[in-house]
Symmetry: C2
Subunit: 170 residues, 2 copies
């Protein structure tokens, strides 16, 4: 067992020993979802004030609305959420490379078979070069798609990894 | 401003007031990623013992490896993670519907334009009917794809929303 696996087992023993929330319902109690980045420096529950059971939390590289669409539709159509909070962050890895860079890295590190698989999947890594613009564009994307009805409230934010502060953009 | 937006502003003021982790580096310090569900009843940091800065956390509907592949490749190829911890959970919403159900709901709730958009995107909601099998299949998927090298350690787990416990499956 790896050190990381051992760490989960220990954490699980401690967490479950004092766990009192086994009664929570499947649909989020406060009917909202947070879409944010997978970045290791973000703790959404603490930073954004999410109590256990209150909100769906979707996380992917860059807090991409496009990449999160499947989960967003499930959250709203099957589990009744009515508000989307999109949070990107300063110092995001998605600001540091292009699709060509990533495709080149995969070929260099993993070889031509992996590069061919990447090409056959036509994977778009969805990097961006301007943080505020990316927040605005993703909010626009969510407003434009017919899969998110106009009745859903959407806001866009930036979390500052340097200060722990979250500020609204749109 | 909605109550949810106000809640984020209040949480952010409190969190940033005592924030001391502004120095953390972009790459996850412990070089691993956790892939889990967006479910509102999961707090990965607490339940799985993740310290701020240690691990990427990817979350989508059902903890789908397929849906998470873009983020996983970025995590490993660009940010150096070397271990994947996949955690699905009891009582998952993905056990409760089929793609046909979801397509029907979208058409009923959002109309024929939305249904047409769904069809044109060819969106697969990736539901599953057996929890343990789904964990095994997703771990297999990650072992099979050439985009995740054999050197990456992969384990599969189930979090119990009733008890707060996380147990290993594979």
């Amino acid at each position: 067992m790896s050190a990381i696996q051992k760490n989960i087992e220990t954490a699980s023993e401690n967490y479950s020993a004092s766990f009192t929330k086994g009664h929570l319902a499947l649909p989020p109690a406060k009917k909202y979802l947070v879409l944010t980045c997978m970045d290791a420096r973000i703790d959404p529950a603490q930073a954004f004030g999410i109590e256990l059971g209150d909100a769906h939390v979707i996380r992917n590289a860059g807090a991409s609305a496009r990449d999160g669409l499947r989960s967003i539709v499930i959250s709203e159509q099957l589990l009744g959420t009515q508000e989307i909070v999109l949070v990107k962050h300063t110092g995001c890895g998605m600001l540091t490379f292009t699709n060509d860079d990533a495709y080149g890295l995969v070929e260099k590190n993993l070889g031509s078979d992996a590069a061919a698989e990447l090409k056959s999947r036509n994977l778009d890594f969805l990097p961006f070069s301007d943080l505020e613009r990316a927040v605005n564009e993703d909010v626009e994307y969510l407003r434009d798609t017919k899969l998110v009805p106009d009745s859903v409230t959407i806001s866009g934010w930036i979390y500052e990894v340097e200060t722990g502060r979250t500020r609204r953009v749109v």
